[in-house]
């Protein structure tokens, strides 16, 4: 397999673009995800894609990887026009991608997953011995601690990530696409991955790399292409680009414009969580406090427990140990309804999966959490006139566009769907707002509006908790940040201590590295 790499890569270094998009667009129902984007990847370079959630990075790489076809424009591979009809087709050209969502079959073993769709056969039967040998060779080359015969569903998330990466490193590699590959790796594993990236780029492989981390950009990046709202913004040299410049290009605004300054005060304690654990181990002995008039951030990687701890406090996940006190009252293990009635509101991260009822109207979605109270109902009977009036007022307050509250939520853009979510938590008196990834997949305008919304809530005396994987958000809004790692609170940062360096340092486990 090493032979193949050399043949593919060697002579082409420094030549014309390996992979190129010309005026590529992707239209989804209701959203133009990519708008005439030009992008090129040279052999042997690491090209960083930079942009907000929803800027079009994922759409671009999914087109490059053959997951979907563009609605306009063309893709050129080694200067020739190609129509990447399927992942299979792309892989035959040597284009491999590692996405954030894993494409592993949990019930199969590591080796079976590695060669899924490209199994070795002998006389029409599976050649298991060759499978084992090839799998061992790949894993050895990558230096990952994986057993070829282990069943994927029993692996940790980090190990699954390694399998996913190993799957991409196949013999005839020419383009490697990595979407935040280090999200769940330890430092040592990350180093191994970087060494590997260096190795393949020396062989002339081009790497498309998505990351939000400045350190990684400096460490391995050659060029950075910034996308915003589906459009190409700029391409910069990774070694010289400054962070301020990148953020400005990414958001189209200077930081101070996007993030309002919030007059925070520390009032009465609203929420106190003591040594909370969940039975599945997602949260282990976490303790934190939230006061009136302050914004508190919960940071950490996906699955670090930052979201789960608030869900458990809200009654949406079981609790195995510890206590939850809301305004001094013990509410440990109470159902969601009881927490709502006591003034806590949790807005989930995934609108589509657990936030909204997509095929029902905005009106019905907004009023849903408060149908048990005036003015939305009188006893068991709904007050329909009041419902229309109230939800209309709230739609105005969050600036729903277009303001058609009888329209089904499905038909609105992501930003407006998020506004419907925000309107939901204004239907009743709330002392503690918990917003889980409040700006995922929304445009910059909505993003600024959501931050202003958070400021208003906070300055009106409510407590706001932001659970977020978005670094700028956690850096600029809260006055206190709890950093989660594998279910535990790794660090508590206040005021001046809240810096990117400090945050990232605690995202990973130093000891294990």
């Amino acid at each position: 397999m090493n032979e193949a790499d050399n043949i593919e890569g060697g002579p082409r270094a420094g030549a014309a673009p390996l992979l190129q998009t010309v005026g590529i667009s992707k239209q989804y129902p209701g959203v133009l995800a990519l708008d005439r984007v030009d992008f090129d990847l040279r052999p042997g370079e690491v090209h960083i894609l930079f942009g907000e959630n929803g800027a079009g990075k994922s759409t671009l790489i999914s087109i490059l990887a053959g997951v979907q076809l563009p609605t306009a424009g063309e893709v050129r591979f080694r200067g020739e026009r190609v129509v990447l009809e399927s992942v299979h087709h792309a892989r035959n050209l040597g284009i491999s991608a590692v996405f954030q969502e894993f494409s592993l079959v949990p019930q199969l073993t590591v080796e079976e997953n590695l060669f899924l769709g490209a199994e070795f056969t002998r006389h029409g039967m599976l050649d298991k011995r060759r499978l084992r040998r090839s799998a061992e060779a790949i894993i050895k080359r990558l230096g990952f601690p994986l057993a070829p015969s282990a069943q994927v569903e029993h692996l940790t998330r980090a190990e699954q990530q390694m399998v996913e990466i190993a799957k991409a490193f196949r013999a005839d590699l020419s383009v490697l696409i990595l979407d935040e590959p280090t999200a769940s790796l330890t430092d040592r594993e990350t180093e191994q991955l970087f060494a590997l990236i260096e190795q393949v780029t020396r062989d002339g492989v081009g790497v498309v790399y998505i990351t939000h981390r400045m350190q990684e950009i400096r460490r391995i990046g050659d060029r950075i292409t910034v996308l915003r709202d589906g459009r190409y913004v700029a391409t910069l040299d990774a070694k010289t680009a400054s962070e301020d410049e990148l953020v400005r290009l990414m958001t189209g605004r200077v930081i101070s414009e996007l993030f309002p300054s919030i007059r925070q005060s520390a009032g009465d304690e609203v929420l106190k969580i003591e040594n909370l654990s969940t039975p599945n181990g997602a949260v282990l002995g976490a303790s934190l406090t939230v006061r009136r008039g302050e914004v508190v951030g919960l940071a950490g990687l996906v699955g670090s427990g930052k979201s789960e701890v608030m869900r458990a406090a809200f009654g949406a996940e079981p609790i195995s140990a510890g206590r939850v006190l809301l305004k001094g009252e013990d509410v440990t293990g109470q159902p969601v309804r009881a927490l709502l009635n006591r003034g806590m509101f949790y807005l989930p991260a995934d609108r589509r999966d657990e936030g909204l009822i997509m095929m029902r109207s905005c009106r019905e979605n907004i009023s849903l959490p408060s149908l048990d109270r005036r003015p939305f109902s009188f006893g068991p009977i709904l007050e329909r006139v009041a419902e229309i009036r109230e939800t209309g007022t709230l739609a105005d307050r969050v600036n729903l566009q277009p303001r058609r509250i009888e329209r089904i939520v499905e038909l609105f853009s992501g930003g407006n769907q998020q506004k419907v979510m925000l309107a939901k938590c204004l239907t009743r008196p709330v002392d503690l707002f918990v917003l889980d990834e409040p700006t995922v997949g929304v445009d910059v305008g909505t993003r600024a509006a959501i931050y202003a919304f958070i400021r208003d809530l906070c300055e009106a005396g409510a407590a706001v908790v932001i659970v977020s994987s978005d670094l700028p958000e956690v850096l600029h809004l809260p006055r206190r940040v709890y950093v989660f790692y594998r279910g535990r609170i790794q660090a508590t940062l206040e005021g001046e201590q809240i810096t990117e360096e400090n945050l990232l340092r605690h995202f990973f486990d130093r000891e294990a590295a």
Partner: protein, 342 residues
């Protein structure tokens, strides 16, 4: 009007535009109704007569009531495949209890009727309780739970009767609840109308009614909005069973016997009536008034085919095909709606 046309190069507002708009708004049912009326009027002179249409109304009562119940199950994203069995067990248990009470106290006819109806409906609702516990508490899929209960209930009904019809109910029961008249309209039609209105009010005007849509539309979102999703699912299957049981007692009155094999076609027909009426199989979407029309439509087609002398075997073919056609139409409609995003 003219100024609007100038502002937007609006799509042509010709016939096909209006047909499409109607289709997106109302679904496939209006089209099917019109086609059915035209076809059967052409096939048979007796079809479009007051006498025949009032016949259709009377015959559709039972399916209509069952479909109202089925709608609850579909709204919450499930099915109730046991509605036929509920009809059967209600009929058998109700008739046996009524006959026994009548034999014991031949003078107390109202008492016998009341006892019989209560026993029958109680037996039917008991099946619903089992469904509700299985689905809401143990998380069994509605498909398996109600399919299993369909077999259990049918088995019990056959066991109780040995497959023989149950006789011996007071004559008055059939005279009143099967053929009775009020203001020139059959009593079963009155009952169905009242149930339809109550269901409409319940679904559209009460909090619990809204919760059916929420739970079927997105059970996780419903849970995070503080809705008791288990209770809602439980109530769903109780209501479905209650309505099927009422239909069962009315059918028993009509037949004057308790029979274990009434209602065998009810699961398919009630699901077809709902789906044709635009109730989504994915849950969360459906309207009571359309379901009433859907049930009417199914019976209308059956009646039309009878008049046109189409045999019962071929009728099964048509009914199954209609169900599938309705689901395909629903998919096409969804695609149109997705295309309407901005």
């Amino acid at each position: 009007m003219a100024s609007r046309e100038i502002d937007l190069p609006a799509p042509k507002r010709d016939l096909s535009y209006w047909l499409k708009a109607t289709f997106i708004r109302l679904g496939v049912l209006p089209f099917l109704l019109v086609i059915a009326l035209i076809v059967f009027t052409l096939l048979s002179d007796n079809f479009l007569t007051v006498r025949n249409l009032s016949n259709v109304a009377r015959q559709s009562v039972y399916l209509m009531i069952v479909s109202l119940g089925q709608m609850f199950a579909l709204l919450t994203g499930g099915f109730d495949l046991s509605v036929g069995t509920i009809l059967a067990i209600t009929s058998v248990v109700g008739a046996m209890a009524m006959a026994a009470a009548f034999a014991m106290w031949p003078d107390a006819v109202p008492l016998a009727i009341a006892l019989g109806v209560l026993a029958g409906i109680g037996a039917g609702v008991l099946i619903g309780v089992c469904n509700g516990v299985g689905v809401a508490v143990f998380g069994v899929s509605p498909f398996i739970m109600t399919l299993g209960m369909a077999s259990v209930g049918f088995g019990i009904a056959l066991y109780l009767t040995g497959g023989v019809p149950v006789y011996g109910m007071p004559r008055e029961y059939g005279e009143i609840f099967g053929f009775g008249n009020l203001l020139g309209i059959h009593l079963p039609i009155w009952i169905a109308a009242v149930l339809a209105v109550l269901t409409y009010l319940f679904v559209n005007r009460t909090r619990q009614g809204r919760y059916f849509y929420a739970v079927g539309g997105n059970i996780k979102a419903a849970r995070l909005s503080g809705i008791n999703t288990r209770l809602t699912l439980f109530v769903t299957y109780i209501l479905s069973a209650l309505l099927a049981a009422i239909a069962g007692m009315l059918l028993t009155a009509r037949l004057d016997t308790g029979e274990a094999n009434v209602g065998a076609s009810m699961p398919l027909e009630s699901i077809a009536a709902c789906v044709i009426a635009g109730v989504s199989l994915r849950g969360g979407v459906g309207r009571v008034e359309n379901v009433v029309l859907g049930a009417l439509f199914i019976v209308l087609v059956q009646n039309g085919m009878n008049l046109a002398r189409i045999g019962s075997y071929l009728q099964m073919v048509v009914l199954g095909a209609l169900l599938i056609l309705a689901v395909i139409a629903d998919q096409i409609r969804l695609r149109y709606i997705a295309g309407a995003r901005d």
